[in-house]
């Protein structure tokens, strides 16, 4: 048997149910792998006691024949999820010492489904970033390296710790959250699968907010089947979240067939951006051919407002963030600056927030404050909302014309070197989100699947965008793409 920590959810589940392994064994294998991979800086807080306790409980349930979907399966949890009694800091200094007295709905759903939490995963501070470099814990490192080159590469962001942990087999799967691509981009850069479901599928209750109208949780896994299993366990209608959809959650896994004959796949011409590397172009064309070969009909489509998506996103997301992050004021929890004699409340806010927030968070809070301020609101925020409506309509029209899913690249390039972008204009980093933000603006489900490698051996992924609430259909198309691509490479272990 392969090392247990290298298994995916489906395989491990089947072994558990057959009694060929135990959750304790799986969990121990993962904990060992985690301890051996500190250099990856994927886990920022390990919870071995909780893990072993849940593993033993899961084994008891398995023995008793009462095994829910995720029973006994060890996973990692992005630090953005509030987990009861366990540090939950959104990788920010401002939440130093914060241990919530509550469990987020998604992590509670996973716990109730029997999942074993191994610890908290690294991420960009407050999920703001595309390289994991804004984390107060320092960045996580991509287990993948370029052929014959030991440059440390980014695992992507913001769910970079989750992606690195899954790719390096430190856990069987992990949770992520996606506001502008934070699940799909790191998945693509690490050769893993990541799905952001339709906005409203997963409850946002207990997930530290970045941009409320865009944030969604989703799984990051080693296969499409695993994504289907874990997504099902994460979703629920939650009366504690007014934006949570009151819809039944389908059994995504049972709806997987890989048969996409007769499906229509749209190829949006606007995603063929200027300066797109030939490798990405080829990857996209290859993916298109794979889906065609699997029996899908491929059509060119137009999503005319795509070029406005990135600017609109970088108005709306910071605007909401500037307000969502106002609660971190040093008054009730987290970091509070030491004050000088005579300092008042204004100094307390200023010093606390200057010390507690990193540069990128401060930048976005300032941008958000600016775009909402009197005199600029209509020019920025209101205009961005209008653009958002138009982007949503582009997709609606494509789906109304019979398109079942849309195939695009996931990222403009493979993983880049850590530090390579730090000197660049922050906008260069924002451009990495060009293929993913439209999906958040339109509230649609999107999944990335690894389908190839670049000339230096790094994984590359493609994105499929589905109709709202039709994650089952989207997962099925992704399964067809995954099967056709046959991506099985793993990073060579160097850590």
């Amino acid at each position: 048997m392969a090392d247990l920590n290298t298994l995916g959810l489906a395989e491990a589940r089947d072994l558990l149910r057959k009694g060929e392994t135990t959750s304790v064994e799986l969990t121990e294998a993962c904990l060992k792998a985690i301890d051996a991979a500190d250099v990856l800086n994927a886990f920022v807080h390990k919870t071995p006691e909780i893990a072993m306790e849940r593993a033993r409980a899961a084994d008891a349930r398995l023995q008793a024949g009462d095994a829910p979907a995720m029973c006994g399966l060890p996973i990692g949890m992005k630090d953005l999820f509030c987990t009861e009694g366990v540090p939950s800091q959104a990788a920010s200094r401002i939440l130093d010492g914060f241990r919530p007295e509550y469990e987020s709905t998604v992590s509670a759903n996973l716990r109730d489904a029997g999942a074993v939490m191994l610890g908290k995963l690294n991420m960009d501070e407050f999920a703001m970033g595309s390289s994991n470099e804004t984390s107060a814990y320092g960045n996580a490192i991509n287990p993948w390296r370029r052929d014959g080159d030991d440059t440390a590469l980014t695992p992507g962001g913001s769910s970079g710790g989750s992606a690195a942990a899954v790719a390096a087999d430190l856990c069987l799967a992990a949770t992520g959250t996606d506001t502008g691509g934070s699940i799909r981009q790191p998945a693509a850069l690490t050769g893993t699968v990541g799905i952001k479901p339709t906005y409203g599928r997963c409850s946002r209750w207990g997930i530290i907010a970045f941009a409320s109208s865009l944030d969604q949780a989703g799984p990051m896994t080693k296969s499409v089947r695993d994504a289907a299993i874990m997504l099902g366990a994460m979703c629920s209608h939650d009366p504690k979240d007014s934006t949570s959809a009151d819809l039944a959650v389908p059994d995504f896994e049972s709806l997987l067939s890989g048969d996409i004959r007769g499906k229509t796949i749209g190829i949006p011409r606007e995603y063929r951006v200027e300066g797109m590397p030939a490798e990405i172009e080829k990857l996209w064309n290859d993916g298109t051919e794979m889906l065609k070969a699997a029996g899908a009909k491929v059509v060119d489509i137009s999503l005319p407002h795509t070029k406005y998506a990135l600017p609109a996103y970088y108005v709306i997301a910071p605007a909401e963030a500037s307000s969502n992050l106002a609660r971190y004021d040093g008054v009730r929890y987290g970091h509070r600056a030491k004050l000088a004699q005579g300092d008042g409340i204004t100094e307390m806010y200023e010093k606390t927030r200057a010390e507690g927030f990193g540069d990128e968070v401060q930048r976005r809070v300032m941008v958000g404050t600016y775009v909402l301020s009197a005199g600029f609101y209509d020019a920025y925020y209101n205009r961005a909302r209008k653009v958002r409506t138009l982007i949503k309509r582009d997709f609606e029209q494509a789906f109304a014309a019979g398109v079942d899913a849309i195939l695009t690249p996931a990222t403009p390039s493979a993983a880049f070197g850590l530090g390579e972008m730090t000197e660049a204009d922050p906008v260069q980093m924002y451009l990495l989100d060009v293929f993913t933000v439209t999906v958040n603006l339109a509230g649609l489900p999107g999944i990335t699947v690894p389908t190839g490698r670049d000339a230096q051996g790094l994984p590359l992924g493609l994105q499929l965008i589905g109709r709202p609430w039709e994650e089952a259909d989207l997962l099925n198309t992704a399964l067809a793409l995954e099967s056709a691509a046959g991506f099985v490479a793993k990073p060579a272990r160097w850590w």
Partner: protein, 503 residues
């Protein structure tokens, strides 16, 4: 129901050194919604709890917490809107008003700037018999209250109590239709009365459950009419907002002070700065709190945690059907149905409990008499004891019995007062008191005649005098009353005495 007709009150002018001036006042009244739970959380709203004991994770703005609208508060806002004859907006939405303060844990207040739940309505503010100001309501929106900052418990630290944070408020915004300090007080009184009838706010100003921001400006006579015609505020003076007033008396004092202050500035060649001011009850003055330059930029935007609030007309109709009779209608009915004076009807409809008490006492009887007994005797007696009507030892049925006893000539008005006092102190029924104590008035003319005859026979000298001077007949009436222990019907005695004396 018959609508009473009113005339608008004359606008009082204020004499400046150079001109006469008029006041223009608009009010934003914050009324705490009567609800057990907060607007977006299930924490209790009970007043007077231990500090920070009625605080949920949402109220404390813990990371990842989300607001969920309390349907009952929406119901209460709609009920209030209907009570103020206002348009109900089936589609409304919540916005965030962003500002930092320790008693505002999220760093923003959830309010309704762009799409309030209630639109235009009106309040009829009576200023005397047949005189009333119609104050237009611009809007009512739902919003969260803030917590309380306490700065005087420690020399170096401030404390925060979040019990109030997140409690539902209705902000009731009037047009600048209030034209004097007295009208401002009357407006609040009327609004409070309507809210209490509706049961949507308890109107307790002392606890801060009803408080007002008062916008005051002054203008020359004739300018207000120009504003009304055009809707153009530039015809009016620059306004100052006096924040957070929770006393009727202070509101009037503040307006009076502010009017004098603004007039002095303008007549002195200066300009009034638009600003937020606070009222200091110790000095009776208003003081700058925040100038226009320091004004917050609240960066309002739609709250992405909450979906737009959509309500159905049928739901609104159900609430409309369950509305109680409101003060204006009740007063009109008391005047037309029971024949009460404007004054009596106003007094008896001031509180819905008083109106109910009156109706029980007056049902099927002489309403005017019942009203007199409640307003003059009962209220006077309760006031003496500092007792509320709700704790009255005399029931409406007992007032009814007194009215019946008077109307049937069983007792005189004078005896009735004695009966009332016994009833008030003992709780015994008036009918039983009159019976047991033998207080029934003698209306038997035979008995009275006998008494008159006896007195005439015993006082021949007085009879002669009375025949010369008929005014002295009163002496005989007095003697008869005395002889009958006050129980003789005074009118009957009068008639018989006059007849017997041949007057």
């Amino acid at each position: 129901m018959l609508d009473l007709t009113y005339e608008a009150p004359k606008v009082k002018t204020i004499a400046g050194a150079k001109h006469d001036w008029e006041l223009v006042i608009g009010m934003e009244v914050h009324a705490q919604v009567s609800s057990r739970a907060k607007l977006f959380s299930s924490a209790s709203t009970k007043f007077g709890a231990e500090p920070n004991s009625n605080v949920s994770f949402v109220d404390a703005a813990m990371p990842g917490m989300l607001p969920v609208i309390n349907e009952f508060c929406v119901d209460q806002a709609v009920r209030t809107g209907l009570g103020l004859k206002a348009a109900i907006n089936l589609n409304s939405a919540f916005d965030r008003k962003n500002y930092f303060y320790p008693d505002q844990p999220a760093g923003y207040q959830i309010s309704q700037l762009y799409h309030p739940i209630v639109g235009e309505g009106e309040v009829l503010v009576e200023m005397g018999e047949g005189i009333a100001r119609r104050v237009r309501i611009e809007r009512i929106h739902l919003e969260q209250d803030a917590g309380k900052s306490i700065h005087d418990m420690d020399p170096t630290m401030s404390f925060v109590d979040l019990n109030r944070a997140g409690v539902a408020l209705m902000e009731i915004v009037s047009r600048p239709d209030i034209r004097g300090a007295d009208e401002a007080a009357a407006y609040i009184t009327k609004l409070r009365q309507i809210l209490r009838y509706l049961g949507t706010c308890d109107g307790n100003m002392q606890n801060g459950n009803l408080r007002a921001d008062v916008n005051v400006s002054v203008c020359l006579p004739g300018q207000y009419e120009k504003y009304l015609e055009s809707g153009d505020f530039s015809h009016l003076g620059t306004r100052c907002e006096i924040k957070n007033m929770n006393s009727m008396r202070f509101i009037q004092q503040a307006i009076d002070y502010e009017a004098r202050r603004q007039i002095a500035i303008v007549e002195g060649g200066g300009t009034v700065d638009q600003e937020t001011r606070g009222f200091d009850p110790d000095t009776g003055e208003t003081r700058t709190q925040r100038s226009k330059e320091e004004a917050h930029d609240y960066r309002y935007f739609p709250d992405p945690d909450l979906l737009p609030l959509e309500i159905e007309q049928a739901w609104v109709d159900d609430i409309a059907a369950s509305l109680p009779e409101l003060p204006d209608e009740k007063k009109a009915r008391f005047m037309t149905g029971f024949g009460l004076s404007d004054y009596d009807a106003s007094v008896l409809t001031a509180e819905v409990e008083a109106a109910g008490y009156f109706e029980q006492a007056a049902e099927g009887r002489d309403g005017k008499l019942a009203a007199n007994w409640i307003i003059n005797e009962l209220y006077g007696r309760l006031k003496k004891d500092e007792t509320q009507l709700a704790d009255s030892p005399v029931s409406p049925a007992q007032i009814g019995q007194i009215v019946d006893l008077i109307k049937s000539d069983a007792i005189s008005g004078k005896i009735a007062k004695d009966v009332f006092e016994i009833c008030y102190t003992s709780g015994r029924d008036p009918e039983e008191i009159v019976e047991t104590e033998g207080m029934k008035q003698v209306t038997d003319t035979g008995a009275i005649e006998t008494a008159v005859d006896e007195i005439i026979a015993a006082n021949p000298a007085q009879v002669e005098k009375a025949k010369q001077n008929p005014k002295l007949a009163g002496w005989f009436v007095g003697q008869v009353m005395k002889a009958t222990g006050g129980k003789a019907n005074p009118k009957a005695v009068n008639d018989i005495v006059s007849a017997k004396l041949g007057l």
